[in-house]
């Protein structure tokens, strides 16, 4: 039986890589990919805790469904905003949008 800590450490690795992506990447699409990776780490932790601590209560899976749904909506709206920005500036690099004080 794999221990709970092993799953949690995989989740930590995914979370750290996602954080690095969000900070270091330059294009907005890559930043969104990093956010998705962080959400994945969260989901992995939720399911690992469900399996090992409360396997009889399926609320954790409902919670993961909500998380995935919100991730999908965030991705759709983020890409919509990106397309709007692309139409204004022909670029979706985050460095081109440093003066958003409107």
């Amino acid at each position: 039986m794999i221990s709970l800590n092993a799953y949690l450490i995989v989740g930590v690795a995914l979370f750290a890589i996602g954080t690095y992506t969000v900070i270091a990447q330059r294009s907005a699409v890559m930043v969104l990919m990093g956010v998705e990776l962080i959400l994945n780490a969260v989901g992995l932790n939720i399911i690992a805790f469900w399996r090992f601590v409360r396997p009889d209560d399926y609320s954790a899976q409902i919670f993961l469904i909500i998380v995935v749904t919100i991730g999908a909506v965030e991705m759709a709206i983020g890409l919509g905003i990106m397309m709007l920005l692309y139409r204004q500036r022909q670029s979706v690099q985050t460095d081109d949008f440093t003066e958003l004080n409107g």
């Binding site: 794999i2 092993a6 949690l8 450490i9 995989v10 930590v12 690795a13 995914l14 979370f15 750290a16 890589i17 954080t19 690095y20 992506t21 900070i23 270091a24 990447q25 330059r26 294009s27 699409v29 890559m30 990919m33 990093g34 998705e36 994945n40 992995l44 399911i47 690992a48 469900w50 399996r51 090992f52 601590v53 409360r54 396997p55 009889d56 609320s59 899976q61 409902i62 993961l64 469904i65 909500i66 995935v68 991730g71 999908a72 909506v73 991705m75 759709a76 709206i77 890409l79 919509g80 990106m82 397309m83 709007l84 139409r87 204004q88 500036r89 022909q90 670029s91 690099q93 081109d96």
Partner: protein, 291 residues
């Protein structure tokens, strides 16, 4: 050690490796298209871990939502990027760290000719506009010769790369220490019901009905909002958009006609046709073919 546990350990190791290596590859490769594919590998690894954790419905959801839905959106957006194939960065391997060189291996390089045909699925006009529109794109042709700070600025990752590595590893080490130091989780030896989908469905439409409906309403509003935002208004331009165009025009020395509000018809049709209802796409089509 019984055979089942050995198999479980092997499966865990393999899936965790796929998840983590996919994530590392996603963030270190120079090609954005390749990062999308690496991200898919990472999602598949996490879905396998879900199945290993006896949450098979969640694994299925992961595959269908992330890989079927979001990744298609991501790969579509990658086509709007400048240099999505990473050919520019692959031409100067001195600036990459070893792991970035590993995951960017075999990328088509942008050495002699600026227009590598296989590096993206963009139209030629769109690509020209992309290169002329951003003032950074002007330096693209002569950037394989000199490696000044300007060409450094063109890289896919920001110069804060090293700081980001430190922050991320600090977070990772801190969380691992927290996990290991508090290892007395109340783990029960219970095995979950193999028919978990039925229980989840009952819960979803019983106890958590409001949350389920709320999530459905949220996704409806979100998708409508995204479609309305990305929908191109015909010819009209807001004052902000005009100001932006003027400032970009002042900055850009070449190709200033192409970044006007009147984009080439092919570009406009590409933008509207992909994200708006089919009727709008058809409405634009006679314009594009006539002019």
């Amino acid at each position: 050690m019984p055979l089942q546990e050995i198999l479980q350990s092997i499966a865990f190791g393999l899936l965790a490796f796929i998840a983590i290596a996919g994530a590392i590859g996603m963030t270190t490769t120079m090609s954005m298209f390749r990062s999308g594919i690496f991200l898919m590998a990472s999602f598949i690894g996490v879905a396998g871990l879900f199945i290993l954790l006896a949450a098979d419905l969640m694994g299925l959801l992961q595959v269908m939502m992330y890989i079927g839905g979001m990744l298609v959106m991501i790969l579509f957006m990658v086509l709007f990027m400048m240099d999505p194939g990473g050919a520019m960065m692959a031409a100067m391997p001195d600036m990459l760290s070893p792991i970035e060189r590993l995951f960017s291996a075999g990328l088509q390089q942008d050495g002699t000719n600026a227009h590598v045909p296989a590096q993206s699925g963009m139209h030629a006009s769109e690509k020209n506009m992309d290169m002329g529109g951003t003032h950074a794109g002007m330096k693209m042709d002569d950037m394989s010769k000199d490696m000044s700070m300007d060409s450094m600025d063109m890289s896919m990752v920001t110069p804060v790369r090293t700081i980001a590595v430190w922050i991320a590893s600090l977070i990772a080490v801190g969380l691992v220490i927290l996990i290991v130091s508090r290892s007395n989780w109340h783990v029960v030896g219970l095995r979950p019901d193999p028919d978990s989908a039925r229980a989840v469905g009952t819960l979803l439409l019983g106890k958590y009905m409001a949350g389920f409906e709320g999530a459905g309403f949220l996704i409806l509003l979100g998708i409508f909002g995204a479609v309305f935002m990305a929908h191109a208004r015909s010819g009209k331009s807001t004052p902000i958009e005009g100001g932006r165009t003027a400032s970009v025009k002042a900055l850009a020395a070449v190709g200033s006609e192409e970044i006007d509000i009147d984009m080439p018809p092919s570009t406009r049709q590409t933008m509207t046709g992909t994200d708006s209802p089919p009727s709008a796409a058809h409405a634009h089509e006679p314009n594009g073919s006539a002019s």
